[in-house]
Amino acid sequence: MEVLCREYWHANQEGSGPLLAATISPIAPPNYLNRLDAIYGDTNAASISRDISYSLTKTANAAIQYPNPEINSWTEIYSAYWYAIGAILAAEHPTTKPDWTKVYEAWKDVANTVIKGYSGGVLEAWTLPVLYTAGKHLRAFAIKADENARASGGDTSFNAGGLQEDIAGDFGKNEKLEDAARVINRMFTLCISDRAPLEESRKWGLYYTTNLLFKTYFKLNSIGLSKNILRALSASKTDMPTLEAFPRSHIVTFKYYVGVIQFLEEDYAQAEENLTSAWHMCHRSATRNIELILTYLIPTLLLTRQQLPSSRLLSPYPSLGSLFAPLTLAIRIGSLSAFDTALAEGEHEFVKRRIYLTLERGRDICLRNLLRKVYLAGDLDEEGKRNTRIYVKDFAAAIRLGESGASGEGMDVEMDGSAGENNDEVECLVANMIYKNLMKGYISRERGIVVLSKNGAFPGTGI
């Protein structure tokens, strides 16, 4: 116990939140690998709380007055922590079957004692990293516990109430993580409801707890809940420090999540802003985070600015490269068949990342590039002006060319491109180009031609 208590007083002396948070870390530091074993072996369930309270007092530099709420609070926290260590050590023991549910429950006690410490006004704002550590690991253990339960439990359980009319209740098996989300939500509330002056307010913990909630909601596939949090944040905007005043790591994560939420809601302009700023602020060596940001920023820019990622951008991130390169290439050369193949092959990964439905729209850009080529292949007149009247059948032939080799079905365009009746789908695609302002001009159906605008037929492409 003395180890733990000395760490505690040291952190207090330094006034360092991170050091204090380290005292309840469920992971041993690299320079003290058997820290957990040492703490756990130092006492037993019968005398744990007496031991801690005694050691905390003994290791204090100054005389401590009784009753001391701070000592009481920490005695509770460390007792819960001690039990949690026991569960963790048992779970990590190589010969036994790990019981992460037990670990989760034990850690939840730690989190709850920490929350109690704050809500009782005992723990000060500088100790917020303790709250972060409690929350962060709560989420991690919950995920493990759920995985555990999924692996062992087989079938869907019946409605617990037995009074509903239907057979199955919730069939998502994320019981612990949902529970964890509730606990983390309390942490968020703890921060947002603090009315102390800003210097000593828990409001500084807002973005960390928000990010933790976002992470949890994303994992639970209930992204919609994030909006409640965003609403709460914007409601108390006036008595909060500005976002810029928070630690950079909090800002980057927050902007990333907000950007992704906007991306999913198809608010691409806002998404672009937030993701771009997250990308610029992200630490250079945080490769994984940069990859995550780019995963959404690349499809966003494809739609908002018709921009494709350069190979230079992708080269430091091989996984992103393999994700986007085939699609990017297909769009660049205007090959519809390559695009369709790339989209189909990447579908699994794209869907998993929730970018499939956005990337799919890249086909418009791909088609635009193809039609642009048809235009560029046209003759110049004496004055060096390009022919702006293009037969629909010429576009049809180009599309057909791109489709050949790919799946047999697809466009109902005849190979020689002569038939007028079967070009309806091509006309439809051209109409879309015009509608989306990727192409300027109009279709004259009777004559079977597309009349392109004399200047700027393909906006944004220099033609």
């Binding site: 037995g162 009074l163 199955a168 198809e266 879309n432 279709i443 159906r445």
Partner: protein, 496 residues
Amino acid sequence: MSSHGAFTSVSARRTFARPTPAPSTTPSPPPSAAEKAKRDWPESVRHYVQRAFATENTIASIPRQEMEIKLKKIISNSAENNTLGTIDWAKLPLPQQMILEERARPALLSANPPWGNGLEPLSLQETNVKSTDTLSKKRKSSELDLSQNGQEKVPPWRIANPRNVFEDRITHPDKRQRNDVAGKGSSKSHHNLANRKKRFEDGQPGYLSQQPFSPSKASIPPDVDQGPVIGRSQDLEKRYFRLTSAPNPDTVRPLPVLEKTLEFLKRKWKKENNYSYICDQFKSLRQDLTVQHIKTEFTVSVYEIHARIALEKGDLGEYNQCQTQLRALYSQHLGGHPEEFKAYRILYFIHTSNRTDMNDVLADLTPTEKRDPAVKHALDARSALALANYHRFFQLYLDTPNMGAYLLDMFVARERLNALSNICISYKPDVRLRFFTEELGFESDDESARFICDQGGQSFLEERDGEVRLLTGKALRFFETARNAAFKKVDIKGQI
């Protein structure tokens, strides 16, 4: 029902405002009933009216209008007879109770009244009319049921015990009244009575003043979640009640009976097409399955059939409930038609423009499922719309497997408007109406012209050289506005 209470009661009193011209002894009726009630009627009459409209006194099986008519009659009669002051209004049965009494009397005398009580024959008619003019391209739920697991033969139990069927049909939700009048009741109706009483227990403690400690509590097992009930009821039909206590085995039908029930209901649906009746029966069927923890292929087919019927009738709420359950049931590989319903899910999410859920569906699809014709059709329709390829979409629309057309019809108008504004912006100066008819999946030029006129765009149609043409350039802004409005409102009912 009670949520409508405040609203309907106002209109009720308006009708009440013009009673049959009363003799000179009663004051001439003022225009507003509400005012009148406050001003002229004796205190006791006003209390009576208030009680009649009070939500705690409403009886589910009696439509409010019927009660109002009765109420009006009672009061105008007594006004005519100059008995307004002599009747003991406080003790006079409420109009709804009188109606119940009147209903119960003939019901007990003759064996033939249907389960209907004024409501059902009406809806029966209506649904019959609808079913005849439903588009031929859509399959009916009854077709599917029968082709999949229905047999057509008169079941033995129907001949053997027809009384059983009727006895059950004459039940009214409120057994109390009937018992008072007839002085008899089956154990089942006792159970329902207890259920109803219990329902009031929470809200109104005073309701059971005679039995303060509610002896019915003794019958509730200490733990509701004890495990499956084993049913003993042999009734084919049963009205749906939301359970508020542990189910009583006497009113729960065991699997063999439920199987017969399903066949019975399928036939009845095909014959009568009465949705409110069928929906109610299916809900009680589902409830019986749940309380007995029956999770088999039969369960799946019950939910599938109910979902199809709800789809056909456009009851998205009920449809969604079934879909949610089916999703759980399919995950346990109990058989059924998972691909058919996956396809519906996809089409439904196109309708609600729900990208998050759409993404989840896509993530869940296996390669085998993607090759299924119905799923493939839905996926193709989705991607055609995602790329605004209306040409492809409307080709798919005309060739929809199963009952997907009912779902597609929910948003086809929206997509047509989208295509229309698309065409208006890119074609100049005009296009033939024929072109719309073909591109937008209309069945005839008439139909497409009607669509344009229904949107209010008739002024953009012009006849020239024996052809109807749409002036695209002029119509553009108009259809843009209509399109934007159509995409704005997607109401989501139920949940998935």
